[in-house]
Symmetry: D2
Amino acid sequence: MYSFKNDYSEGAHPRILQALIETNLEQVEGYGTDSYTLKAIELLKQKIGRKDVDIHFFSGGTQTNLTALSAFLRPHEAIIAPSTGHILVHETGAIEATGHKIISVEVTDGKLTPDHIKTVIDGHTDEHMVKPKLIYISNPSEIGSIYKKAELEQLSQCCRENHLFLFVDGARLGSALSSKENDITLTDLAALVDSFYIGGTKNGALIGEALVICNEILKDDFRFHMKQKGALLAKGKVLGIQFLELFKDDLYFDLAAHANEMANLLRNAITTAGYQFLTDSPSNQIFPILPNSLITKLEKNYSFYIWSKIDHNHSSIRLVTSWATTEDAVMAFIKDLNSAL
Amino acid sequence: MYSFKNDYSEGAHPRILQALIETNLEQVEGYGTDSYTLKAIELLKQKIGRKDVDIHFFSGGTQTNLTALSAFLRPHEAIIAPSTGHILVHETGAIEATGHKIISVEVTDGKLTPDHIKTVIDGHTDEHMVKPKLIYISNPSEIGSIYKKAELEQLSQCCRENHLFLFVDGARLGSALSSKENDITLTDLAALVDSFYIGGTKNGALIGEALVICNEILKDDFRFHMKQKGALLAKGKVLGIQFLELFKDDLYFDLAAHANEMANLLRNAITTAGYQFLTDSPSNQIFPILPNSLITKLEKNYSFYIWSKIDHNHSSIRLVTSWATTEDAVMAFIKDLNSAL
Amino acid sequence: MYSFKNDYSEGAHPRILQALIETNLEQVEGYGTDSYTLKAIELLKQKIGRKDVDIHFFSGGTQTNLTALSAFLRPHEAIIAPSTGHILVHETGAIEATGHKIISVEVTDGKLTPDHIKTVIDGHTDEHMVKPKLIYISNPSEIGSIYKKAELEQLSQCCRENHLFLFVDGARLGSALSSKENDITLTDLAALVDSFYIGGTKNGALIGEALVICNEILKDDFRFHMKQKGALLAKGKVLGIQFLELFKDDLYFDLAAHANEMANLLRNAITTAGYQFLTDSPSNQIFPILPNSLITKLEKNYSFYIWSKIDHNHSSIRLVTSWATTEDAVMAFIKDLNSAL
Amino acid sequence: MYSFKNDYSEGAHPRILQALIETNLEQVEGYGTDSYTLKAIELLKQKIGRKDVDIHFFSGGTQTNLTALSAFLRPHEAIIAPSTGHILVHETGAIEATGHKIISVEVTDGKLTPDHIKTVIDGHTDEHMVKPKLIYISNPSEIGSIYKKAELEQLSQCCRENHLFLFVDGARLGSALSSKENDITLTDLAALVDSFYIGGTKNGALIGEALVICNEILKDDFRFHMKQKGALLAKGKVLGIQFLELFKDDLYFDLAAHANEMANLLRNAITTAGYQFLTDSPSNQIFPILPNSLITKLEKNYSFYIWSKIDHNHSSIRLVTSWATTEDAVMAFIKDLNSAL
């Protein structure tokens, strides 16, 4: 049984564990003030091409989102998110638990546009309603789509005109930025948004996300917020060491590119076999629409999520690839798919 | 420069990293539903001698405290804690951020007694004040003292008589239970308190704390609370594997006993050298009172915290030992101490 | 200029002020423990026909909603509400500010059905999502519709089967229960729901809402929650005296019936004049669809809200009547409407 | 039985009710945007001598405190308050429920000094602790003492030097400013503090407190916070009309002066009778220390709180006077006191 259920089934890329071993017995400062973490921050700043951003490491995505968003907002300020947004659906109300409403915008492709935002802004006119203040998007979205640079620029401009912060959930940012359709760089991202995070857990790290704060007014006292939310690890170096390893020679992007290639192999084979997809996804998650009978056959050797019912005889499934997905497994899946026809 | 500043300076015990490597590429379920985590839970239940407790793994102590205490309490219910309590002083208001007041009880030895509790209860008489509902203690306390079984029994009885939950912060529980003065077992603990946690981060783990919920009425829906607070790691197996390794042959207690022995060597030598201690600490943190001139000399080769000013010429310092503290370093410190006299 | 903008434009019914004057200089206990408040509670219990409900007085609707709902729920539990629900739209995220997510269900008539609820329940399957626990409805709804007894019975049964609390926002409950289409009594309400409130502010009181808690398990320590949210008035008798006056001879229902009659006069005349309505509203809010040119003429002598754009030439407006609306004003409006044709 | 238990036993000063009656049937705008409220705001600005302050009306003190303090602070920021502070003791954790820690400073006279503040600031050095940001004081304090102008100036300077906000709980501000020992004006107050409130409930109003925000950076979006906390009354005019009446000819200060005079009569008589006081209180609350036998006798005809046990035979009691306290009642108490000797 091979799993295409998610991109966090395995542990870390071997180089990550090796780095942890090599530095294991050194005595260092706690809570992310150690030299490895400081070096990782410097390295990420170089990769982003900006010395004036702040960078903080977290152990998971929900923790990153809830800490950052609650730190960035005053109590009456709300978030606008696409209806597929992870914080809206799959974080057990973590944001609302910090006191903030999320305004959901119905989308079909996982992405927000300036028109969506303007409609919400127009509908929030006085103090009897929350004040929209932060735009939450994910890149890639939770259904695999990615933002093009022109789209992000339009969003960015809309946000600035309306005094809104723009935040990017980058749980799978590596996959987006390594996609063949991508035209956005880390430097673009830092220029266009107020804050984003670079997901490590789903791209080779054992655990770890790197939050980048670009907007000066969001930086103050951020470590207080981290400590208050339980996000400052005593052995903070565990996170720093991993990001140092992931970015010192672009391992991070290589791993993401591999995941995308594996997804691409699957996509091409499924297309060739004559099937459609629920969404147009150029990243490491794809959503083919298959006959239920075929799904049942595939489930014998592969695990994956059944995403949605399409009609009486068809469903969409979600296939996720990762840095650890082997080409052998992908080829076996394709072979089984074709032989089942 | 050798550090006695804390017990989280180094990484993990080598066996922990080895266990992570061995299981690294297996595909497992996410969010702590993998077989390693389930085995770790079973193993801990065996060690505790109770099948009916619930066990959940966290990545840090503040996260454990804030998730558990906010899950256990209704909005108007408050916590009683000794004035030295970690949640009162060093967690950036994490508990209050979840909406709950902590009532501080002035103590000198880091420990609460039934009399303390009764005084608070007597002073909280109606709905204009919060309702005390949970007693927070740490074992060992933040200043190194430990609870004897008789003391814990009295606290437990007081709590049951007053419908209070009793919670033990066990960030350094290994050190307490491995202390030569200790007469409490894990089984005792589970019988006497409503919930406690077994700290891994400060005793050999890379990261990790194991929360044990003994009281049936505190168990419901606990994973919802974890997810909401950002505490459910996607790669939850990282925590399970560590606890499995720490407890499969009592490595956990061996490491704590080593830390205590190192502290004991220091304590004896300092006593022999004619110095007093701020507190009576039979665990891995000791607080000798030394002349400032001696402290200055020791600071050349050793790092540690200066804890408090005693008089014009003396201060207390905090020396912390751990599983990783070497006897060589301890002997060197003692030698330097004696030669500085 | 006569206002049909809302039902809180005027002060209190004269009998309310008279009651306040008559009792003004008596010395009584504070915080709602005075004899007037206790008598008002007894009287309401009689009207409801239940001795075992708890009753608490508040100064406003948002305060009632946020105090009750946050007291009734644990942190991970969420509310299901129709998309028109007041707590979703017009309370500035008051519920989310207490930490709870509200799940919005798209509705056209302002009302929830068991099917809506089941769909939400089916979609919330594990700890990565909030746990739906409380159903919020308003009677009448924010767009004037009311629940029939059979509908409420179905909702009630659905809630019990799914372990959900059912809560009714009764900001305009008088209007619903006095509607000619209504077949629900206060006794029915207390039997079918877990908690509801009887709105005073919009039906003759100066300020005041009476929360009724029917479900035993929601009653504990409720006054603690009120105090914590700033809802316990020092001069609590101000609220008790008003409800005593409103209910001692059914003044409350008489006032609501008057408001409904005034709305009915308007509705009939507008229908006769050939216009349609946005919603079928048998309560004190009606939403006629009028030509924009007619609206402009009416705005010269009457104030009201333009509710929504219907097409290029038509809009719906909201006309609200109250205990204080005079038949003269209604007749003048009708005359102006007809003469404008 | 005459009550000296508190200053909210009676309703409102008759002129207040008269003003409510006179304006009762006028149709006005809701939520505090009516002409009466606007006039009350202008009048208060005149009395304060500042056009640039913002003023908002609330229905109670706890509601005012929790709304203002949570609006003024970011999540990691904490409040410093004297141990007697109302928010620390008698508001059921209302402030903590909004997420903020209150740091208690042990005081004997109910008042904070710059030394207290500096000690707390010195002890809060990094992100592992909350960040003190707002100083909460009450004038008069909860035990009757008042601040002199020089003391307030020192506090103000200390706050500005340390980037702290200074907030004054003025639940009984009338009594403080009308005390014979007072040398502070409303204008002084607005110049020296960042925000304060003028309590109406305990000085002649039916309900009502007026929050004054002096510091520009605390003003933004304040009505959003009010709505979110349930503090915006639909019939907001009820509050505005009362403050308009209280301040249009200094009724507010006349009422407070009367209360103080009544307390003064009691104080002088008790002093003459040879008794001491727990605190030096020049406001409308006094705390005489009396023999328990005398207290028992007085309790036959008067109700009051027994404040604290002094020794085996003596206790302190609290006597509170108000605008409604009659000289007859005071004289009767004094007579009974003397005849009981």
